[in-house]
Symmetry: C2
Subunit: 251 residues, 2 copies
């Protein structure tokens, strides 16, 4: 059984595209947030309970909508809702890329890393467009790619972060294995005044990529390739361990 | 100016302990979530505006309470609220450790990595106890340690994740530079029935550490040392790039 999830919510078209591509040829089930959860990062719900809604279509079970985050969905699907652990988790297709440093804000990616922590192979998939709603090419890539993941397996704790250019099928140049680039949102807050004369702020800002050393996710997608970045949740900056040990730290 | 923040909320005693330790000897300001934001991961608030409350004590400005996440607080402090960019961000002291894989769920740590992305040196500090509310030793460590960070600087994109054992000052064995260990919460959901006869689930579960290769944060703290792990937000699993390239992937 393959578990499908996302952070755009149970009814999002990107998730539906994967369901349509996969559910005819393999056993799939959706466990996804009831409402949009974009930019929730790797949040889990501790302070509130989770409620579950069974979702059917024409009498057929599609899966479950959960009042929680993508990581919550993976946890409760694997632990409570599915009759057996899934052999694969697919998160997405997300509306909007998840590349560079922005990966850490991504609910889509957090579902995949949560699965990896739980020992289930996983793929996060995102479409590099905030408005193009044609997810068919990305979903078709998932359909051709997921058997490789099942066949080859993934090391413990590793997930795959896939980003697909928003291009027609025949304009995609191929697939590239990449590393995560460096990006930053140059923050800008819109400062506004509410009807009761209180100031409030709304986060705006522009995404910039600043890594030009070659082989990054953002470069590959920019050039028309599908990027696949193997990721894990070890944040250690290894090449700074020794320099830090040379500091004079005592207590 | 040093920016203090956390994920336990503006009035949390762990944050207050750092304020008390630092504000007499340096210029400090607090920009922290109005309410507790534990386990929010690296969430940012896009769908809602942020409201800001000025917080004073005996006529003196302590800082600002924000209706958002720790990452939101850092973004809006640096971009809007402070007269100049802070020279350092300190997040914590958190009630409860942030070690091993669980770091990715941590709002405390996300404030520090957000600062790192914005080019500001930062330290996340957590106390290894869920109930011991004596943050004085951790705060005292911060007071003695932060000048080293200012003096030596940190590479771009790097933050320091500090975990302090819940021990009396003289029982702390020293400081150890560590890497992030591997941990997992063995999930258990409490299944309950609400007064209207609907089922709901509440996340429980037990934290386990499974990394025994030496040099990890969890081992150091267990042995009575303060652990310092340099972290960044590059999730790439570098040693799996070449194996993945050997897969037969085409599209």
């Amino acid at each position: 059984m393959i578990l499908l999830t996302n952070d755009d919510g149970f009814t999002a078209p990107g998730l539906r595209a994967v369901w349509d591509a996969l559910s005819l040829e393999t056993e799939a089930i959706i466990v996804a947030p009831e409402t949009e959860q974009s930019a929730v990062g790797h949040a889990i719900t501790l302070a509130n309970p989770l409620k579950i809604k069974e979702m059917k279509e024409d009498g057929r079970l599609l899966g479950y909508a959960v009042t929680g985050t993508p990581a919550d969905c993976v946890k409760i699907a694997v632990t409570e809702l599915l009759p057996e652990p899934p052999k694969l988790v697919i998160s997405g297709v997300n509306q909007g890329s998840n590349m560079g440093s922005c990966v850490i804000y991504s609910g889509t990616v957090s579902a995949a890393t949560e699965a990896a922590i739980m020992g289930v192979p996983s793929i996060a998939v995102s479409l590099d467009s905030w408005d193009d709603r044609d997810f068919s090419v990305a979903a078709e890539f998932v359909r051709t790619f997921y058997p490789s993941v099942l066949k080859n397996g993934l090391p413990e704790g590793v997930a795959l972060n896939v980003n697909v250019p928003a291009l027609p099928r025949d304009a995609i140049k191929g697939v590239m294995v990449t590393r995560q680039g460096i990006s930053r949102v140059i923050e800008k807050f819109d400062k506004r005044v509410d009807p009761r004369n209180h100031t409030y702020y709304w986060l705006a800002g522009e995404l910039t990529f600043s890594d030009t050393h070659g082989g990054t996710d953002c470069e590959a997608v920019e050039e028309g390739y599908i990027s696949i970045t193997p990721i894990h949740c070890d944040l250690t900056r290894k090449d700074f361990l020794d320099p830090l040990r040379s500091w004079d730290i005592s207590f």
